[in-house]
C-alpha cells in the first residue's frame, strides 16, 4: 500500500468484507444495508469528495470516482455515487451536507419540479420519476431552474410521498411526489454560476460509466476463473478455442470500458465539467455498448450456472443492464455528441477527439 492507493485498498477491504450475497439479496428484498453504510460513513468514504471544512474528506475527483468503481465491482447496493453527486452539488452551492444516504433529482424528462417563493420562504412542488435510492435516502438533492438561476434544494425525504419502483437489479428507482413543501434558506440556495442541472446530469452519466467499468472488471475476473476451473469433456473450458475467443472479446470490451471511464474522469478532473462533454458522451456510449456485448459473453461462458440466483454473476450483469440506460443511454449521448460535432464539419472532428487526450492538467 502507498498513499496513492491506500484509500482504494481500504475500500476494497471494506466492501470485500461486508458485501456478501446475503447482504445483496436482503437489500433487494427491501432491507437497506445500514451496517455497510455506517462503516463507510465511519471511514469518511460517503462524503469523500466534500471539502474538509464542510465535513468531508477533501478527496480528489479521481479518488471519489475510484471509490465508486470499487463499490460497483462488489455490487454494493447503496447510493454511494448519488451521495457523491449530492455532496458536490450542496457544497458547491454553499449548503451544509447532511450525513446519511443522499440522492439527486436532476432536471429532465424524469423530473418536473417547480420552486416558488423567495429567500426566507420557499416552496417546492412537482414530481420526479426513477429517483435512485429515494427510499433509502435521508435527503434528496434537487436542481431546479428558478428565474434564470439554478436552485439547489436539499429536501428531507420525510417530506415527500414515495411510490416504489426499481431497476433490473432491484435497486430502488422511486417516484417522488412533492406537494407544497415549505423550505428554509438552509435548504435552498440560488446560484448563478457553478453547478447546473445539465452539469449534474453529466456527472451522473460519468458515475454510471465508472460503475459499469467496475462491474465489467468483475465480470472478466469471474469469467477467467470460471473457465479455468470448469471441466467438460475432460479438460477445462479454457482449453477450448471457442471459449478463448469469447473471453478475449470480453476482455476487449472490458478494457475499452475501463479506459473510457478513466480517460473521461481525468478530463473532468483536469478541465471541468463544461469542457468534458465529448469525453463523457463518448465514455457513456462506448461503455454502454461494451455492456451489451460483455454481458452476453460472460453469461455464455458461464453456461446455466451464470443464469442462477446462486451464482454471483447476476449481481453484476443486472446492474450493467440497468446502468447503461440511466443518465442517458447510448442513443441519447450519440445524439448529443453528433449534434455538437456535425455543425463543425469533418475537419473539426479530429482536433475535437484528441483535444484533451494525454493532457493531465488544465491549461493556463
Amino acid at each position: 500500500m502507498n498513499d496513492d492507493t491506500i484509500l482504494i485498498d481500504t475500500a476494497e477491504r471494506l466492501f470485500g468484507d461486508l458485501v456478501s450475497p446475503t447482504l445483496l439479496n436482503a437489500a433487494e428484498a427491501g432491507s437497506f444495508p445500514h451496517v455497510l453504510w455506517s462503516a463507510l460513513e465511519d471511514h469518511g468514504m460517503t462524503l469523500a469528495a466534500v471539502p474538509e471544512a464542510e465535513g468531508g474528506a477533501g478527496a480528489s475527483i479521481q479518488e471519489a470516482f475510484d471509490l465508486v468503481r470499487v463499490a460497483a465491482r462488489h455490487g454494493a447496493p447503496i447510493p454511494l455515487a448519488e451521495t457523491l453527486l449530492a455532496g458536490w452539488a450542496l457544497s458547491g452551492a454553499g449548503l451544509r451536507v447532511p450525513l446519511g444516504p443522499l440522492t439527486v433529482v436532476v432536471p429532465g424528462e424524469q423530473a418536473d419540479l417547480t420552486l416558488t417563493g423567495a429567500p426566507g420562504h420557499w416552496q417546492l412542488n412537482g414530481q420526479a420519476r426513477r429517483v435512485p435510492f429515494a427510499r433509502a435516502a435521508g435527503h434528496l438533492v434537487a436542481l431546479v431552474a428558478h428565474q434564470g438561476q439554478t436552485g439547489v434544494v436539499c429536501l428531507p425525504a420525510a417530506r415527500c410521498r414515495l411510490a416504489p419502483d426499481d431497476n433490473l437489479a432491484g435497486e430502488s428507482r422511486d417516484t417522488v411526489e412533492v406537494e407544497g413543501v415549505s423550505l428554509t434558506d438552509t435548504q435552498v440556495a440560488l446560484i448563478a454560476t457553478g453547478v447546473t442541472g445539465e452539469g449534474l446530469f453529466r456527472l451522473g452519466a460519468l458515475a454510471r460509466v465508472v460503475q459499469m467499468a467496475g462491474a465489467l472488471e468483475r465480470c472478466l475476473t469471474l469469467a477467467v476463473n470460471y473457465v479455468n476451473e470448469r471441466v467438460q469433456f475432460g479438460r477445462p473450458l479454457a482449453k477450448f478455442q471457442a471459449i478463448q475467443h469469447h473471453v478475449a472479446t470480453l476482455a476487449g470490451e472490458v478494457s475499452a470500458a475501463t479506459v473510457a471511464a478513466d480517460a473521461a474522469v481525468r478530463v473532468l478532473a483536469a478541465h471541468g465539467i463544461a469542457e468534458a462533454l465529448l469525453e463523457i458522451a463518448c465514455a457513456k456510449i462506448r461503455t454502454g455498448e461494451a455492456v451489451g456485448v460483455a454481458a452476453a459473453l460472460v453469461h455464455q461462458v458461464h453456461g446455466a450456472m451464470g443464469f442462477t440466483q446462486e451464482y454471483p454473476l447476476h449481481f453484476m450483469t443486472r446492474r450493467l443492464w440497468s446502468w447503461r440506460d440511466e443518465f442517458g443511454n447510448e442513443a441519447y449521448w450519440a445524439d448529443q455528441l453528433a449534434g455538437a460535432l456535425l455543425p463543425a464539419g469533418g475537419d473539426a472532428l479530429w482536433p475535437a477527439l484528441t483535444r484533451h487526450a494525454g493532457i493531465a492538467q488544465r491549461e493556463g
Partner: protein, 424 residues
C-alpha cells in the same frame, strides 16, 4: 477494522490534496490536483494513462498545419488505407519537414524525439488520410531494427536516406506455406564458400516490394530442429540484385500492392546480415507490440467518417446522428487505448497482451465505419465516384477483409489475449 485509515486521514497524508471548486467561472466544475497514477487493473491487463508533453502537442499543431496546407494545395487527396499507399514525393516532403525518423539519434538524420511524439505524428498522418506508405515500414520497423542490432556501416548507409524519405523498405515474412504460422518459413540462406550467403525461396503478400528500394527478408540459416524458433536470420535484400524477381499478386480490386518475390541463388554479402545469425525470431517478435498497437490498426478508414460528416451535415436525421455518435465514441476510446499502450511501451514496460487487444478492437472498428455509414448516407460506393465520400466508402469496403488479417489475424490475436489473461 483496526489499522484502516479514514478517507480524511488518507487524504491528509498526501502532500497534494485535491480541491473542489464549484465557483469557477463559466459554470465550470474543476479540480486542481497533482496527476498521479491510478490502478487500472482488470485481470492482468494494464492501461495506465499516458501523458503528452508540451513538445508533443506543439509538434502535433505544426504537423496539422503542414497537412492542411498540403491537402489544400493539392499535395494529396485524403484516402482510406493511406499507410499502404505510397507517394514517394509526399514522403520526401515529410522527411524534409522533419516528420520522419523522429526518435532516431541526430547523427543518423533523426530528431531525437520521444516515442510519444512519434505516436502523435503517426496518428495525425493517418487521420489526415495522407499517402504515407513509402516511408512507413522503413520508419516504423527497419530503422529501429537497424538502430538496435545493425552494424555501423548499415546504419550509415540506410538510416539517413530513410530519414529524408528517400529510401523505402518492404518486409518479407509470409510464404506460401507460412502465413500465421511464421515458424514454417522455408526460404533458406546458405553460407557461400569464401564468405557471404546464397538466398533461395519465395515470399508472398510482400507489400509494395516492386516499388521499394529494399526488403528485410526473414529466412532460415539453419535446418529446422525440435526448437522450431531457432535457426532464423534476417537479411537486407536490395530490389535490383540479380536473382530477385517480382510477380504481382493483385488485390481483389486489381490494385498491385502485394507481390510474390522469388529468390533464385541471390548472392548476399555478410554486410547484409542483420544482427547475429540465428537471432531472427527474437528480432521480429521483440517489436511486435509497437507494430500492433499503433494508430494504423484503427484509423485506416477514419477518412471515410471525416468525409461522411460533411456529407451528412448539421441537418442529419436521428439515425445518422446515432451512427456518427457511435463511431466517434469508438474512435475516441481506441485513440486513448492506443496512446496508453504506446506510453507503456515507450517507458520500456511490457504491454504485449494490451497491444494485441488494441489491434483486435481496431480491426473491428476499421470495418464498422463503412458498415455503419453506408446505411445512413445514400450509399452508392464507387472508386471512380467524383463524390469523395462514395470513393472512400468503396475503398473502405473493398479493403475491409485485410483489416483483420494483416499484422496478425484476429483469430491468432484472440488466442494471444486469452493466454495473456491466464487461460491455460
Amino acid at each position: 477494522m483496526a489499522g484502516i485509515l479514514t478517507a480524511r486521514e488518507t487524504v491528509r497524508r498526501r502532500a497534494t490534496p485535491g480541491r473542489l471548486d464549484f465557483s469557477a467561472p463559466a459554470g465550470r466544475l474543476f479540480f486542481t490536483e497533482a496527476p498521479r497514477a491510478m490502478s487500472m487493473t482488470n485481470a492482468s491487463l494494464q492501461f495506465p494513462p499516458a501523458i503528452l508533453s508540451p513538445e508533443a502537442l506543439a509538434l502535433r499543431d505544426t504537423l496539422r498545419r503542414f497537412l492542411d496546407d498540403e491537402r489544400r494545395g493539392g499535395g494529396f487527396e485524403p484516402q482510406c488505407d493511406g499507410w499502404i499507399t505510397p507517394s514517394f514525393e509526399f514522403s520526401r516532403k515529410l522527411g524534409q519537414a522533419g516528420f520522419l525518423a523522429l526518435t532516431w539519434p541526430k547523427a543518423y538524420g533523426g530528431h531525437a524525439r520521444t516515442q510519444m511524439e512519434r505516436f502523435v505524428v503517426t496518428a495525425e498522418l493517418l487521420a489526415s488520410g495522407a499517402p504515407v506508405a513509402a516511408h512507413w515500414i522503413a520508419d516504423r520497423q527497419t530503422g529501429p531494427l537497424l538502430l538496435r542490432i545493425g552494424t555501423e556501416a548499415q546504419r550509415q548507409k540506410y538510416l539517413p536516406p530513410i530519414a529524408r524519405g528517400e529510401y523505402s523498405f518492404a518486409i518479407g515474412m509470409s510464404e506460401p506455406d507460412a502465413g500465421s504460422d511464421l515458424a514454417s518459413v522455408r526460404t533458406l540462406a546458405t553460407p557461400r564458400p569464401g564468405g557471404g550467403w546464397l538466398l533461395n525461396g519465395a515470399k508472398i503478400w510482400t507489400s509494395n516490394a516492386h516499388v521499394y528500394d529494399a526488403m528485410v527478408v526473414f529466412c532460415r540459416t539453419a535446418a529446422r530442429t525440435e526448437q522450431r524458433h531457432q535457426g532464423f536470420s534476417q537479411f537486407i535484400v536490395e530490389r535490383n540484385l540479380p536473382g530477385v524477381t517480382m510477380n504481382p499478386i493483385r488485390f481483389l480490386t486489381g490494385e498491385h500492392h502485394f507481390n510474390e518475390v522469388v529468390f533464385d541463388n541471390v548472392e548476399l554479402s555478410d554486410a547484409q546480415l542483420l544482427g547475429r545469425e540465428g537471432d531472427g525470431w527474437a528480432q521480429i517478435t521483440s517489436e511486435l507490440a509497437f507494430e500492433r498497437s499503433g494508430p494504423e490498426r484503427f484509423l485506416s478508414t477514419y477518412p471515410l467518417l471525416r468525409a461522411a460528416m460533411d456529407t451528412l451535415g448539421p441537418t442529419a436525421d436521428a439515425r445518422a446522428r446515432f451512427a456518427v455518435g457511435q463511431l466517434v465514441a469508438r474512435f475516441w476510446t481506441l485513440y486513448n487505448m492506443s496512446m496508453r499502450v504506446f506510453g507503456r511501451l515507450a517507458a520500456g514496460l511490457e504491454a504485449d497482451t494490451e497491444a494485441v487487444l488494441v489491434k483486435e478492437l481496431g480491426a473491428r472498428l476499421e470495418k464498422e465505419v463503412a458498415e455503419t455509414l453506408r446505411l445512413v448516407i445514400h450509399s452508392a460506393p464507387s472508386r471512380q465516384s467524383p463524390d469523395r465520400t462514395q470513393a472512400l466508402m468503396a475503398t473502405a469496403i473493398l479493403h475491409s477483409p485485410s483489416f483483420s488479417l494483416r499484422g496478425g489475424t484476429s483469430e491468432i490475436l484472440r488466442g494471444i489475449i486469452a493466454r495473456g489473461l491466464g487461460l491455460r
